[in-house]
Symmetry: C2
Subunit: 426 residues, 2 copies
């Protein structure tokens, strides 16, 4: 089993645009990533690039990058409002974004760069990523319901999967983190590279789209390939043990990639992105017993093994009972209620991040999980699961509330010469 071509790491610099990597040491620029890894270039006390930051991925391929790509450590996510009513403006923006994203992912600068243009004009690139490697940057574009309202003549093309998400129990939505006509997910192993991407793509959008909200994620809460270890969320538990992985190609095809036969033909090879800003009631959670914490999750806090026994990747046994005859994995635990067995076999590809945005007016930590999940159909893979969790899952009911929510149609792979979402417009 191999990764899709679109997500194979590229060891060679992109031929497009001036490469930021030119400013790295010649030895790092001249050799491939694997070679660098063994080249002894990591002498302690000298500043060096790690294998992570030297990775780069192709923007073009059978699917958009940033979905089954090995999940990077850092995130900057932005949702936009379209401020135009011109279909041509939207197309022009998507073309400009396509060209820019391809350059940024290759580690290059935009346009004539931060310093290469006219001295009496603003530089095309803001420059804060100069000297930084590609850092595994992926840029993933999505279309919100607003793109299909009466402004752009696209109403008839709105996929039936791109629903208006219902209200869920535990939703305490803050308008500052809801919706958006467009979105960009920028993931990288260096946060400055992700921030640079969102900033410069936002700048390109000036006059056509404006930032509605953004979210910075500082640590991943899932793995999208089998080689990655399972990270921990801010509840202190391993998260995403059972996540779909890129190597499960049959499941990825079944649960992640939209098909031309699904309804909206233009969405073929695309997916749907559910974004939920989930705040953890950290002060309460931190004062509950280890027993209550583990019973809420259904796994041990240390190894992440199910409470029915075994190791992290042992299949949970929901029938196994303890001495008192009740199941070792409580029926209202997160593992029990989110397991495919409880959800008609449904699964999703999670790609979330830990976040912290300081303290609220009461001094409570504003921190939690920025949940991102890619699904083929939110109506069957997200909504029923979330309805069940929000009403019955002890972890969700007692310790979480959701402050932001959005759904986006993520168009399919971008071929040579194409722009993102082209099939929707032509």
């Amino acid at each position: 089993m191999t990764l899709p071509d679109a997500d194979e790491p590229q060891a060679t610099p992109s031929p497009k645009g001036p490469s930021r990597r030119a400013v790295l040491g010649a030895s790092a620029a001249a050799v491939g990533v694997a070679a660098v890894a063994g080249a002894g270039g990591f002498a302690f006390g000298r500043e060096t690039s790690s294998s992570l930051t030297l990775r780069s991925y192709d923007f073009r391929g059978p699917h958009q990058s940033g979905i089954v790509t090995p999940q990077q450590d850092r995130l900057h996510f932005a949702a936009y409002d379209l401020t135009t009513s011109s279909r041509e403006d939207v197309i022009a923006l998507l073309k400009a974004w396509t060209e820019a994203a391809e350059r940024l992912m290759a580690g290059g600068e935009l346009g004539s760069g931060a310093t290469g243009g006219s001295y009496v004009a603003p530089p095309d690139d803001t420059g804060e990523a100069l000297g930084l490697a590609a850092s595994g940057l992926t840029i993933t574009f999505g279309f919100g319901p607003g793109l299909f309202d009466d402004r752009f003549g696209l109403a008839s093309k709105r996929p039936e999967q791109l629903i208006d998400l219902p209200h869920f129990s535990g939703d305490v939505l803050d308008d500052a983190f809801v919706g958006g006509d467009l979105c960009i997910q920028a993931c990288a192993d260096d946060p400055q590279v992700a921030v640079h991407a969102i900033r410069n793509l936002s700048r390109i959008a000036f006059g056509t789209a404006a930032i509605r909200w953004t979210q910075l994620g500082f640590g991943r809460t899932s793995s999208t390939t089998q080689a990655q270890t399972t990270p921990r969320n801010l509840m202190g538990f391993k998260d995403g043990t059972r996540n779909l992985r890129a190597e499960q190609t049959a499941d990825i095809d079944r649960f992640v990639w939209a098909d031309a036969g699904d309804g909206a033909a233009w969405m073929a090879t695309g997916s749907y992105l559910v974004a939920r800003r989930i705040r953890i009631r950290a002060e309460i959670w931190d004062r509950t017993s280890l027993q209550e914490q583990e019973n809420s999750i259904g796994r041990t806090k240390g190894s992440g093994s199910p409470l029915s026994g075994g190791g992290e990747f042992t299949e949970p046994d929901f029938t196994r009972a303890g001495g008192d005859g009740t199941p070792l994995i409580p029926v209202d635990s997160h593992v029990a209620l989110s397991h495919p067995d409880a959800n008609d076999g449904m699964a999703m590809l999670r790609r979330g991040y830990n976040f912290t945005d300081g303290a609220d007016s009461l001094g409570r930590l504003d921190a939690g999980l920025f949940f991102l999940a890619y699904v083929r159909d939110p109506r069957t893979q997200f909504v029923p699961v979330q309805e069940r969790l929000s009403k019955s899952d002890r972890m969700t009911v007692e310790y979480l509330h959701t402050t932001g929510s959005a759904l986006f149609a993520v168009p399919g792979g971008i071929g040579p010469g194409e722009y993102v979402g082209q099939a929707l417009f032509e």
Copy 2:
């Protein structure tokens, strides 16, 4: 020239407490950092720890860590209000913080850990750093003016250097980012390690101190040792080229470390931390010409060399004029006005970070520089410089405004058996 002992990287695990590193691969845990660097452990496509994340520093030493320590990539900073009026409570907190900080910096867990305590009690450690290396974590404590009000009998010990900062031109302070009775600066090369530290230290403070404000920094904007390359700020320019470095021991002694003869004897070997949350008017800056940008800074955007010529580290020549007879480095540029020559030879040790906190209500980027600087006397090293810059420096006047501000006395080094700030209380 060598680094002070306190800041020498420690290649061996701390003997204190259970080490989180025990869960890393045995090969990584068993060998020193330098050995790992050359051991070929960086095979591409496998998840590995870089030399950065394996670093650890000693909490105890001649000065607090996190000042001349090689500046780490990520920051979580917190300011606290004391919610007690008991001097004994404050001492107990500082003792608890000392013990906890020492463990955290060694890569260990707090108390009995995230899973090692009683099953029916809350764990002592929240657990989200389990499995992560020490990551070069430093924890630096500071005391704000409020500690010296009438609550704790310490008014007579307030250092004259710990002034109430005056209002500066361009200050548009948001109460949400001002002041604090205590502060903690947590720097690390993994943001989750820094966030974990602040969260758990805040938890220890419950009932004695509460978070007043926090700031996450995603990328450093200065270097504190000569081995580090100069990073870029969100204006796209190299920042901190002329920063003091740990190797300049005479200058560090002169400009950073407080002396018993400076007034407050308890502050010997300590320093004063100026914290300023500086927002960049990014939308305006990004639309100015490269010429205006370079003239505002006084350096080229690409290499960071002064406009009078040479390379990044060439000394600026403020007298050198161009064809029209005016200085190549404009007299109102940041380099000209912040240079020691314009400030009675004064210097400071900067240790700031880039931040972004999303967008404001108008969709403008809320991003900039979280300025941190360590000085021996803010009255001579910060206030006059900032007064000059805030009134005359083109960069500051036109493109920045300051939304947060605080000053802290950072007590001196912590010896064996001591707690932070002990000399103030005993």
